[in-house]
């Protein structure tokens, strides 16, 4: 991305600001969507982490006498077909979503970066491995995750595994592309001439240049993992049904669309807002860190 003269000017002005807090505030003011995304993300994080504090009850408690009740002053989001409180379940559902999102993006980045660095640097491995990656990426991610879940017991850990596997080739491809261009860089050539070994070149010269694009990628992976967890659970092949996750709540609500639309409406709203917030943070980081693509 070309840096315009005005950008260069403001960047220079910012560099002279001594206090990081003031600088951060200025950046947020220039990026309102980034700030909004960050605020919503922190709010959802607070909702999930401190779930018991938000006037919730027991997410599993059934009150058969209060089945399918409309949203009201006592039951903010209504109740489901077992008389469970949809508000409480939605609040607790944030935990599963955030856990899956964070775990999938961390694990697939760690594995994908390691493999991508190695594959990108050894030309012999490269041709073969990239054909393998092309093949793996030809299988639509959601179908691959579904098939993996069919062979595994339903648990949060297995959902994370099933979502990490389709993601790894995509991270490898990103890392490899950067390694290929950086490998020809003068600094790498110079290091090589000085006798620096390959592992050290990868870790000290190439990895640091990858940090910004990887941070941006982490947010997008997290957002799509949260969506995919909900898809898997909604299709009955994800988080086990006794755990309140947004996908599970909606899966149970789908029989009652006509009678009790609120069972689907509220968890879906939380899901959409959370994913939107993370994507906005990703877009904001991409602009701030000046990552192209």
């Amino acid at each position: 991305m070309a840096v315009r003269a005005t950008d260069a000017g403001t960047l220079a002005a910012e560099a002279t600001v001594a206090r990081p807090a003031a600088r951060a505030r200025r950046l947020l003011a220039r990026q309102p969507t980034f700030a909004a995304g960050l605020a919503v993300l922190f709010a959802v994080l607070a909702v999930g982490v401190f779930a018991p504090l938000w006037w919730t009850g027991d997410p599993l408690q059934m009150k058969p006498a209060q089945r399918l009740q409309q949203p009201s002053a006592e039951r903010w989001f209504g109740s489901d077909h077992f008389g469970r409180d949809v508000y409480t379940r939605t609040v607790y559902g944030a935990r599963v979503s955030l856990l899956v999102g964070a775990a999938v993006s961390l694990v697939s980045l760690a594995l994908g970066t390691t493999l991508g660095l190695v594959i990108g640097f050894y030309r012999r491995l490269d041709t073969v491995m990239m054909r393998v990656m092309d093949g793996l990426m030809a299988i639509p991610a959601i179908l691959l995750a579904l098939a993996l879940m069919a062979m595994m017991r339903g648990s949060v850990r297995n959902v994370i595994i099933a979502l990490v596997i389709p993601e790894i080739p995509r991270v490898i491809r990103l890392v490899r592309a950067s390694v290929l261009s950086l490998r020809e860089h003068t600094m790498v050539e110079a290091a090589r001439a000085l006798g620096v070994g390959t592992p050290r070149i990868l870790l000290r010269y190439i990895l640091p240049a990858l940090v910004a694009p990887l941070i941006v990628q982490a947010t997008y992976i997290g957002a799509s993992a949260i969506l995919f967890e909900a898809y898997l659970s909604f299709l009955g092949a994800g988080t086990p049904p006794h755990i309140p996750s947004w996908g599970n709540i909606m899966a149970e609500g789908k029989t009652y669309v006509q009678l009790a639309f609120w069972i689907i409406l509220f968890p879906g709203l939380f899901l959409a807002l959370t994913v939107l917030a993370i994507n906005l943070v990703g877009d904001g980081l991409r602009d701030l860190l000046n990552v192209r693509g």
Binding site: P140, A237, M250, I264, G268
Partner: protein, 313 residues
């Protein structure tokens, strides 16, 4: 150019080989015995033994891979454990629904996504541009099935204009057929439309700064002609790429959409097969869908050459 197309076609063979082996290896992804997992919790030892023989799981691994590859090369995808029907028959029965659904969704998303992307780029910074960008990022974050339920609630349950769910083949009449596909196709198209709008806008912004665009406007040509004939034509490469890549998105979304609207397509077939652990069906669908994906991207590569004669491989 034909030699080039042939070369690209040959290059898809190793990719499909990897897909075939990966789809097969899925069976062995968990440490346990696949026959035990497929047979389920209530299976007897006999059931497990029968499944093991039937899927050839009693053979050494390399023999199993060899058998699997030689079978699929002959077009034999195996038989469903649950229904006993050949997997290719099951896929054939369900394919039409999914093809119609994805086709309509593709038409809607290109038909809306490209024009709004062009307009947003043309009026960069205006309220229109901002609205398109808001739509692009929120559409891309939208949980497909949730959107489906919202549309059902508004247009089918509350307004009563369209059927809630189900499917009618085209033989049952054009309106019953179309009316059952409008909401699903709309649901499926939103994510994709957002992606195309965003891509078109970005690509157009790159082109609109070019001298020849200024020249075209300076000549007094109508904006519509300049935008479409001069700008969009040159901005179309990334858009075409996204259309190829987006097919995977559409298929993934179709699985979920078919489940919301009870459409008897490949997605339903897969989800049912997963619940029943009907592994030959899962493998067959994965293989066929991935094959179609590879072919579509091959077509996209060829389109490149047609759209931009400068590209030669």
């Amino acid at each position: 150019m034909f030699a080039e197309i042939l070369r690209r076609l040959v290059a898809t063979i190793p990719v499909m080989g990897v897909v075939a082996i990966a789809v097969f290896a899925l069976l062995h992804v968990t440490p346990g015995d696949p026959a035990v997992i497929i047979a389920g919790d209530y299976a007897t030892t006999d059931d497990i033994a029968r499944i093991r023989t039937r899927l050839g799981l009693d053979q050494p691994f390399h023999v199993q891979v060899g058998l699997w590859l030689s079978r699929i090369v002959r077009g034999d995808l195996g038989t469903s454990i649950f229904s006993g029907l050949p997997v290719s028959t099951l896929i054939g029965q369900r394919a039409a629904t999914t093809i119609w659904l994805t086709l309509f969704a593709m038409l809607i998303s290109v038909g809306v996504g490209v024009p709004i992307g062009v307009l947003a780029a043309w009026r960069k910074g205006s309220w229109l541009d901002r609205a398109v960008m808001v739509f692009a990022v929120s559409g891309f974050s939208m949980p497909t099935f949730w959107l489906g339920f919202i549309l059902v609630y508004v247009f089918a349950i509350t307004a009563g204009w369209l059927p809630v769910q189900g499917y009618h083949p085209i033989a049952a009449g054009v309106w019953p057929f179309l009316s059952h596909l409008i909401l699903p196709a709309l649901t499926l198209s939103v994510v994709y439309m957002a992606l195309i709008a965003r891509m078109t806008r970005a690509s157009m912004l790159g082109v609109l700064d070019e001298d020849y665009i200024r020249t075209a406007f300076a000549k007094g040509l109508a904006p519509r002609g300049v935008l479409i004939r001069h700008a969009l034509k040159n901005a179309s490469l990334p858009v075409v790429t996204i259309i190829g890549i987006g097919f995977a998105l559409l298929i993934g979304g179709a699985v979920v959409t078919e489940s919301v609207f009870a459409l008897p397509g490949l997605g339903r077939l897969t989800v049912d097969a997963i619940v029943r652990r009907d592994y030959p069906v899962i493998q067959g669908v994965l293989l066929v869908v991935s094959g179609v994906y590879v072919l579509i991207n091959l077509v996209v590569d060829v389109l490149y050459v047609i759209l931009d004669p400068r590209i030669r491989y």
